[in-house]
């Protein structure tokens, strides 16, 4: 009775009425259920743990199927994530399950950056959802939600405490995803050791401020079982897909020379508790928490980074549109300024270039003049030389002509003398 009073606070101006008969809107939840069955459900689990710790086997055991995972090697240089999506069906309910496993986690010598790929993956899924949400033409009801709803963190059963890598990684992830720590390969820890181990782990998580997922206590139908289960965290699980004959049934178990560990025996391990809590009771709550808490936190951080605020400096509420307009104006102003700046720069550059070119032209011109003068000078000199040469030549030819004439004269004179002698000889 008390819880139903708390459920809805009466608004001012709205008075509760009592009905005179049966109206029928109590079928609303059923309509919702029918619709969601029709649509199908979607769930994403992220498994983080060292290589070989039993992540794939546990998933196979939880969902009673074979997800066909292969063994990874210990020598991966970096942590990677491998996501696989499956379509499962149970009675008339369809589930689209995505299992993301870490590959190579905890194998490197230097594990300081091991958490980064995981954080990046989770952020990427949030980002793509945010993008879809902010689109103009969006189809959220059709959108395949890939955000991680639950993170199973596999703790190595050392029996003492958490490893330093576990602490560092969980601290980075606790605000991004619902962390459910589980103790893997729990058939190596005896009951008394397990009790001490669980207490130590929880106290370490608390003292370091790591917020793991707490099963919700607000719904009275499941509050009681959830409170009990909260006290059993972290669950110590054993996974097995092999069946062993116990009594006269075949059960999932691991056969040792000293006994048989039955996976579904609550005395042996907490597997049944995990299955109930994770799948049967709180799956929807996990999805809701992811959406309302982790995703909203991411969205807020992202939008604040982009500059959007809910209240302006005078503490008056500002709507997204106003902020957007303001941002747009700012952007346009900035754009204009940049354009002007560029233009100015361009003009200046052009001027400079022009001046340079002019200068170059002038220089060329002067050089040309200089060369021309030089050329003219040379030509004059040459002309002078030629004239002298011509004079020489003409004077020489005159002298030659004179000499020839003289020679010819002398010849004819000699010839006459000879003729005279010849003539005189006859006489």
């Amino acid at each position: 009775m008390a819880s139903s009073d708390v459920a809805r606070q009466p608004d001012k101006g709205v008075r509760p009425l009592s009905l005179a008969g049966h109206v029928g809107f109590d079928s609303l939840p059923d309509q919702l259920v029918n619709k969601s069955i029709y649509q199908g459900f979607c769930f994403n689990i992220l498994c983080i743990g060292e290589t070989g710790i039993g992540k794939s086997t546990l998933m196979d055991t939880l969902f009673n199927t074979n997800f066909e995972n292969f063994e990874s090697s210990h020598f991966e240089p970096q942590v990677k994530l491998r996501a696989q999506t499956y379509d499962l069906q149970e009675s008339n309910v369809r589930l689209r399950l995505t299992v993301v496993n870490t590959v190579g986690f905890g194998d490197q010598m230097n594990k300081q950056e091991s958490y980064q790929p995981v954080v990046d993956y989770i952020d990427r899924q949030f980002e793509s959802y945010l993008q879809e949400e902010l689109k103009i033409k969006r189809s959220l009801h059709n959108y395949h939600d890939s955000r991680v709803h639950a993170c199973l963190y596999f703790i190595s059963p050392s029996g003492h405490s958490l490893k330093s890598l576990d602490l560092v990684t969980m601290k980075k992830l606790d605000s991004k995803v619902n962390i459910i720590p589980v103790i893997a390969k729990a058939d190596t820890i005896s009951k008394s050791e397990l009790h001490k181990f669980k207490i130590k782990i929880m106290s370490e998580l608390v003292s370091n401020g790591v917020q793991i997922y707490q099963f919700p206590l607000d719904d009275e139908t499941v509050a009681k079982v959830n409170t009990t289960m909260n006290g059993h965290l972290p669950f110590a699980v054993v996974g097995s897909t092999e069946e062993v004959c116990v009594g006269n049934k075949m059960v999932k178990a691991r056969q040792y020379p000293w006994g048989v560990v039955q996976v579904e025996n609550e005395n042996h391990c907490d597997f049944v508790k995990l299955r109930e809590m994770l799948i049967c009771v709180n799956m929807e709550d996990l999805r809701e928490q992811t959406h309302t808490r982790h995703y909203e936190l991411y969205r807020r951080c992202k939008l604040e980074e982009m500059g959007f605020k809910d209240t302006d400096p005078e503490c008056k509420p500002v709507s997204l549109q106003q902020t957007y307009e303001a941002k747009r104006q700012e952007f346009l102003v900035e754009l204009q300024r940049r354009e002007d700046e560029m233009r100015q720069m361009f003009v200046q550059r052009v001027k400079e270039k022009e001046a340079e070119l002019k200068e170059a032209e002038r220089e060329l011109q002067s050089r040309f003049e200089q060369l021309k003068r030089l050329h003219a000078d040379e030509k004059a000199t040459l002309e002078e030389k030629k004239r002298l040469l011509d004079e020489d030549q003409s004077s020489f030819s005159k002298r030659r002509a004179a000499a020839q004439l003289l020679q010819a004269q002398s010849l004819t004179a000699n010839g006459k003398k000879d003729k005279d002698r010849k003539n005189s000889g006859f006489m």
Partner: protein, 369 residues
């Protein structure tokens, strides 16, 4: 006595042998036994591996004592940047008059920090330190009471949760393989079914071969041992690396009180050979091969260290004559300039002759062809 009678009396006759004329050195083993019991033995065992793998529990189970009474285990946040420490516990235990001074060297913090690059350096440093200490003692003037603190065996714990060796395992074993006898073990083997153990052992053996890691090899037994012993030895060799379980508690199983672990689904007995290889490990480590481990440490690993040490020291001294040697070295290794030249000359000559020899051999070979 005439010569013939003397000769006759020397022929060993079974009925006479015990009464007279036997030399008697067959009692030497007894004398050695007596002396060694009087002197006592010492053994240094190092355990290495990540925390939480059951190293201390195993040591307690092996030597049936509680060596780590008030251990302080660090929290996860303290271990983020932890460096590897070396801690030593020495105890004196006695059994049937034989005294053993056992030293357990623990390596808390190995592999626990977030960044484990070169986390084995403190460990190799410690081993080298012990070797150096022994080297100095051995070369000292008064050698009466040398303490042998050298590490005789290193048990390396491999976690059973993975698929085989991890990078940190390979690097550690490779760093230590030439300094100490490394014996890899599969820790907390009660989380593996027999089939899984077999697969993991095969995988580990394969990977140890593949990466060329030199772990401690059992010496082959002599051919004149009896069949039973040979069979046991073969079995022992085939089940390495040993898959072990340790326990600090005694439980009631099958009407007896044994060391074991109590689970809701059954009781794991530490000393049951079908449950784990603890008995084989104990036999190997304590009952049969303890002395062999000590011998290999002093004949092999220590000698390597010593030779290396001397080499570096002499080369340093040649380079820099002012270096004082902390230990006395024979004059042969401090040559002066002339003898050095002579040595060099002789070296060259030798090399030349070797080359000529090779050439001649080649020629002969060609001729044959």
């Amino acid at each position: 006595m005439t010569a013939s009678s003397r000769y006759r009396s020397r022929v060993p006759r079974p009925e006479d042998a015990e009464e007279k004329e036997y030399v008697g050195f067959a009692t030497l083993p007894n004398q050695v036994h007596r002396k060694s019991v009087k002197k006592g033995f010492d053994f240094t065992l190092m355990v290495a591996g990540e925390s939480g793998l059951g190293k201390s529990t195993l040591v307690n189970s092996l030597f049936l004592t509680d060596l780590h009474k008030d251990r302080k285990l660090l929290n996860a946040e303290e271990r983020i940047n932890q460096t590897v420490e070396i801690t030593k516990h020495t105890v004196d235990i006695e059994e049937k008059g034989v005294k053993l001074k056992l030293t357990i060297v623990d390596t808390p913090g190995f592999g626990d920090a977030v960044n484990n690059t070169e986390c084995w350096r403190p460990i190799t440093g410690y081993i080298d330190q012990q070797f150096e200490q022994y080297f100095r003692d051995e070369s000292g003037l008064n050698r009466k009471n040398i303490q042998d603190n050298r590490v005789h065996c290193c048990l390396y714990f491999i976690p059973p949760f993975g698929h085989g060796l991890r990078p940190v395992d390979i690097e550690f074993m490779k760093a230590l393989q030439d300094k100490v006898n490394v014996v890899p073990l599969i820790a907390k083997a009660d989380c593996l079914t027999p089939l899984e153990i077999k697969k993991l052992k095969e995988r580990l053996r394969e990977e140890i071969d593949k990466y060329g890691i030199k772990i401690y090899q059992f010496p082959d037994c002599d051919s004149d041992e009896d069949e039973e012993f040979k069979r046991q030895d073969k079995e022992l060799k085939e089940s390495t690396p040993f898959a072990v379980i340790g326990s600090n508690t005694v439980v009631e199983a099958r009407g007896q009180r044994v060391r074991g672990r109590l689970y809701p689904w059954g009781i794991v007995e530490v000393e049951n050979p079908s449950h784990c290889d603890f008995v084989k490990l104990r036999t190997m480590l304590i009952r049969t091969h303890m002395h062999d481990l000590k011998d290999i440490t002093s004949d092999c690993h220590y000698e390597n260290y010593r030779a290396q040490c001397i080499q570096t020291m002499t080369s340093k001294m040649n380079a820099d004559k002012r270096v004082e040697s902390p230990i006395p070295i024979l004059p042969l290794s401090t040559p002066d300039v002339e003898t050095e030249k002579l040595i060099k000359m002789k070296d060259d000559e030798l090399r030349r002759m070797q080359q000529m020899l090779q050439k001649m051999q080649q020629q002969m070979h060609e001729q044959d062809l």
